[in-house]
Symmetry: D2
Subunit: 311 residues, 4 copies
Amino acid sequence: MAIKGVLRASMMQVRVLNIEDSVKFYRDILGLEEVCRTEDGRVCFKGYDEFDHHTFTIRLADKPGLDFLAFKVSCPKALDEIEEQTKAFGLDYEVIEANTDQPGYGKRLAVQLPTGHRIDLFAEVEMAENHPDLHNPDIWPGGKQPKGVGATMVDHALLFGPNSAEAVRYMKEVMGLGVAEVARTPDGKADACTWLTGSNRPHDVAVLEFDQPGKIHHLAFKLNSWTEVGRAADILTINNVMIDAGPMRHGITRGYTIYFFDPSGNRCELFAGGYAYYPDMPVRVWDFDQLGKGIFYYDRKLKENYLEVIT
Amino acid sequence: MAIKGVLRASMMQVRVLNIEDSVKFYRDILGLEEVCRTEDGRVCFKGYDEFDHHTFTIRLADKPGLDFLAFKVSCPKALDEIEEQTKAFGLDYEVIEANTDQPGYGKRLAVQLPTGHRIDLFAEVEMAENHPDLHNPDIWPGGKQPKGVGATMVDHALLFGPNSAEAVRYMKEVMGLGVAEVARTPDGKADACTWLTGSNRPHDVAVLEFDQPGKIHHLAFKLNSWTEVGRAADILTINNVMIDAGPMRHGITRGYTIYFFDPSGNRCELFAGGYAYYPDMPVRVWDFDQLGKGIFYYDRKLKENYLEVIT
Amino acid sequence: MAIKGVLRASMMQVRVLNIEDSVKFYRDILGLEEVCRTEDGRVCFKGYDEFDHHTFTIRLADKPGLDFLAFKVSCPKALDEIEEQTKAFGLDYEVIEANTDQPGYGKRLAVQLPTGHRIDLFAEVEMAENHPDLHNPDIWPGGKQPKGVGATMVDHALLFGPNSAEAVRYMKEVMGLGVAEVARTPDGKADACTWLTGSNRPHDVAVLEFDQPGKIHHLAFKLNSWTEVGRAADILTINNVMIDAGPMRHGITRGYTIYFFDPSGNRCELFAGGYAYYPDMPVRVWDFDQLGKGIFYYDRKLKENYLEVIT
Amino acid sequence: MAIKGVLRASMMQVRVLNIEDSVKFYRDILGLEEVCRTEDGRVCFKGYDEFDHHTFTIRLADKPGLDFLAFKVSCPKALDEIEEQTKAFGLDYEVIEANTDQPGYGKRLAVQLPTGHRIDLFAEVEMAENHPDLHNPDIWPGGKQPKGVGATMVDHALLFGPNSAEAVRYMKEVMGLGVAEVARTPDGKADACTWLTGSNRPHDVAVLEFDQPGKIHHLAFKLNSWTEVGRAADILTINNVMIDAGPMRHGITRGYTIYFFDPSGNRCELFAGGYAYYPDMPVRVWDFDQLGKGIFYYDRKLKENYLEVIT
């Protein structure tokens, strides 16, 4: 099989301050489908173009942030190998049995990164009821036009934390991710930020060196085009969602983007385009003083507070 | 590494009836860069978003068609494994030494498919001089706006020939390609057409059962969006290129497309979008009588002669 | 006032074979708002970007077609002048008093064209309840995302009938419309088709010489862009609407277009773009044998039956 | 004629600090055609979709800014009426004879507005050599793909100056422009800014009350779509043009926009879309504290210095 091992960042659980406000936001504005609610009050969603049972869970908490980012693995055997290598690498992990906290999900490894983040890895999950058509398929499941901005699927997250080099080494050596781009530290001697990917996406996850552990800068869903990003800007605006930046383009990944905040203050991104990464591509390197262009390609300077407002 | 083995359909050599007319077409209208000419008069091109030395070669001949479609493999070791497995599978192949017919290319296996097509596989090739930027990269190499329709890279080809089931078996078992979609025969007992992919592209190659060997329906280059497909229609039209179908959408792959003919009668496609394929996706299945919707999603019927005009 | 007299084709009444199927089509798929129903069972609609009470009325009948196309005039005085000139020109007309058949509408002149069509002219109409915002306006009325394909407003109609030169003369001399483009007859001695406009639209109405009176080729609503035309193709397709041609571009007007049929067989168009016409522009002239390119700009040939299937 | 009197803002002369840098900017990046140079060293340009001899002139000066904005009038008789009414209104004006400073132009009235700006009005101008096709027209003149960002034509300018209410009164009463939108002063008792239009454009000119006379905020050229605005952002960026704001949408006009600076510091805009204005539309009114949303629809706040950096 040409793609094997880790396939993609495919699922995440996020903390919110109010469940119903968040449901309105993620379901009615972002257009995710509400799949189910758990006994402990969490709500599970999915994008219209996803096959997995659900891919996005919100949990009531007293501060926002990311509980974990989960990667799907091609098969149970590959997951076993990752477990072996995680042990050998020396990171702590926990095994979460099937169908415990995430309905429909098989066994997960919950790995503790040295940046303070939790990465889950799993190989098995039930197919969602409303999955994309498989027989003489229409472009939208069941012939239904997507709602709101029409987020298609989970795309990636940007993690902020200490010991990022070690986390990146784990992602490369154990998870098998490729490095698409790096941004150097000001002295040029190390990487301040690394963009990693499991297959052709320009990134499934990025990690930035930061003094506080376990923080996220943003979590991202995928759209199909610059035009959909522009339409999302219209829809976010008429719904009074606070937009942080964009619509614009990244120099890094070349993707189109808009950043905005969910009702709990989690920064979200809608991301479209970008090049198709392949492992025969050299790493693209950004000097620290060019990060402005890397992130805000058109403005060519970092927006104030861009690196400070995190959850 | 998450993607390994065969990466993508990355290069092809095509027969044309007139070199200079073809250069004007592929360079000035499709926007490929002319990289070099060989001593025997062939011309080598590449798209602006490709790193490899060249990816598209035209050769003067007395009838149009495809000499071979080449797939890039992740590393020489993977190529060696494919050679072993090709032997075991029982297909004839030839080894083409580095830097013989294709400048800058390493060793290639030229495999003879039972459909009458030649598939080349290679792991090594020099990097093109005008490759995408790697240091503080701009979105276009060297800050230059792409020309013509701005074809970005080789995307796929649709092969017509006999014994397609056996060719598909080789692509799955030896090349490790995944099957994204199939169209059943009228009796529903076999596959009339199969769409296969090495990574997230919805297809790198498709194979249709046909009584004459070694034919191609079309060769495709990649664009970035529906908007670029529309703009391509404008540019093709003002250049009097004969358009065969589109701009439109495929049901199969969900990609946006326009078909047209090069000056020698080779049908070309500009293809954009489509879903991101992952090997955890079930195969999408088309009934034979729904192929019209599969290919001409908006018209929902096959255009006359669509399956007959081939080279 | 820079624009005065006839402003635009702003309203039409169309015959349908089934009211409820038509309501589903025009309201749920095209995205028009159902404004009201009349005592005699007609249903009145409007686009989200229109201020007038309603702009599109359907009436149950035993065959499809257009009852009348109505043009809005800048003021009652201008309407009086048009009445005087219509008398002088010698066309029959009727005065329809305010609030008779069309709720909310002021007095209309119903002019009988020599092509067998009825053109209404009016200056006064009540403002719709759901009109575009006027105070710190959002881009969509009341902050609500348009439904279905999101048709914005009535745009134009293409009339087929005899004595078209005389109808065109009335439109120019009495209605004050400008001629944007003409297509010559095969012998080049007369105009087979004329595109006329009240202001910057490339056409508000077109008239083609035809042997049967009172026919329409299509009625058109406006979209905003090529991208919206493409999205409309997606939405029409998943709703099993029969698409006649497009998405494509016209050479005439340079507009983007898709043609399809309502449930009664009326050909509809969604039209976007096109140049901004001004009366200082020379008339653009098409030879008869170039009409294919004029209408099907990318295919450069008339689609079979294009000029035959009419209502 | 449905549109008569003033047709549109169709021409302007701008001051630049360096002719050759400006030629590179307006010709190679914005894509205007260089039409001719005058004996006194000015350079005349036009957009590919304009019929008039030239529509944009640059003049070497020691500070940037706008010499005049010119409006085309439907016919000499209408120009004579405007001259009469200008006298009656009491504004100073000068008559510039044909073919003096602007090659190919007929007689112009150069009217001195109380805001310190000069508005020219003219009815006659030679047709440009490279005008849009008139016989079986292609979408681009002579079948040539537009260069750079492909600016189509002059669109509008935003003027800053004192006595704006009086300037607006002149534009309404003498020039016959319609008021599409106004922004109120903080106390709500007057208009801080007024957007005026000659026909369906949402604005041909806007006037903002300001203490210094004769200033401009920006001069604008027209693009066709949001997608072209995004592509312009790409092209401006790779050419190191300083982008001031956008790509984004205005609440006012609903148009898509990007602001940037020419090499002399003149703020330019590329503007696309916006609603079609008709004189039967009520004026849209913005409260002063909502101007942020009016101009920066997605951010909903004024960008720092937006109202201060002017020329």
